[in-house]
């Protein structure tokens, strides 16, 4: 328990220390949203969702890349404190917070600039969009946590992070887009259940695989 507390406070203090980095990501989200708005001010609901996911994906990928970007000495200390799988879980939680914040910021900015799609203006529909977006963002975090660790071990190249992540994130993107399309159309929860379950599966699968593979990846 003490170990988890130490890891959690370390992750939080690292985030606070690098808060200007995260302000940059939020600024990136705002600039990307404004750019999209200036090019296509009145998109159809499906284009609205597609653009939202593109902005969330690229903004959160930048945040995830920094997650495993720590000095080697710090890793030596952390490796004595926790197992690689535990480090993976803490880093995934850290990335999940970033992706959720990014998704929330993107949703608010899209609501501000474009407004919500007509069918999604009730409170229940907004809740459904929030659920699909939140689960999708968490699923992104699980996959990106693993690819971020891999990229950091291979020399911390941001282009490599994107090369490894984008193909692996495609299943999540497609499932999440389907879930959010149904949510934006204010479909019944029973209709939404399968894609939401798909998003949960795309969250659980990389988490399970990452937990098993992380000790091999992290071995010196």
């Amino acid at each position: 328990m003490n170990r988890w507390w130490t890891l959690g406070t370390w992750a939080l203090s690292a985030d606070l220390r690098r808060r200007t980095d995260y302000l940059q990501f939020l600024l990136f989200t705002a600039v990307a949203t404004y750019l999209v708005y200036s090019i296509a001010p009145a998109p159809s609901p499906s284009v609205w969702l597609a653009l939202l996911w593109v902005v969330v994906l690229f903004s959160s990928m930048q945040a995830a890349f920094r997650a495993f970007h720590e000095p080697e000495g710090l890793w030596t200390y952390l490796n004595q404190l926790a197992s690689p799988a535990e480090l993976f879980w803490v880093k995934t939680a850290q990335i999940a917070v970033h992706t959720l914040l990014t998704a929330l910021a993107a949703l608010l900015l899209f609501g501000l600039f474009f407004g919500l799609p007509e069918s999604a203006q009730s409170g229940v529909a907004a809740l459904k969009i929030g659920a699909s977006l939140g689960l999708g963002a968490l699923a992104f975090a699980a996959t990106m946590s693993f690819t971020s660790a891999l990229a950091s071990r291979a020399g911390a190249n941001p282009a490599l992070m994107a090369t490894l992540s984008l193909p692996l994130l495609m299943p999540t993107v497609l499932v999440a887009r389907r879930a959010s399309s149904l949510a934006a159309a204010n479909q019944e929860w029973s209709e939404l259940a399968i894609p939401l379950f798909g998003e949960l599966a795309m969250l659980g699968l990389p988490l399970a695989l990452g937990s098993v593979l992380m000790p091999y990846l992290w071995k010196q």
Partner: protein, 221 residues
Amino acid sequence: MKNGFSIAWKTAAAALVSYSLVAGLMSPVPRLFILNETIRNLYFHVPMWFTMVALMGVSLGYSIGSLRKPGISALESDRKARLAAEVALVFAFLGLFTGMIWARFTWGAYWTNDPKLNGTAVAILIYLAYFVLRSSVEDPEKKARLASTYNVFAFVLMIVFIGVLPRLTDSLHPGNGGNPAFGSYDLDNGMRAVFYPAVFGWIGLGVWIVELRDRLARLSK
């Protein structure tokens, strides 16, 4: 004894592929609306994908072996995983091209926004990323370890993407979205007699190519 078995399966693979090439073009096929003679593509396109998945499975097996073994053995397993992935990628491109030609004559376009097609394109991208990862690391042991972990992670997600997701969504592709495939009315017993030998023959040929490339790699060291 081992040598005899090796000769037997390689001869069988060559014979099955030769038979499927000739019978695939010459044997009678059912006359189906729209499909017409394009149904013969089943003998060429589908075995490419089966071979690709089988070889990616071989690559996965060697990657798991590489993670579990120490030192030189890990590097040897990783080399075999790489070679299997390379040959699998060739079969993936062959499957993609044969599918595109078929799509042009039945769907009217070389490429459509279909989940199955997108899945296969992403599967190819995943394995291209595997090679990019390999080329970005210099140290052989580190390269083997990183590439093997990525291979295991990527294979599972790829199988979900090409095997599970298209079945949950609407797709034009046979075998998906309620469309008939080779298990249903459009594959009679005459076609099965060509299709299954083609699948086993091409898989055998793929494994043989991997084995030959591995021998070549060992000789060139």
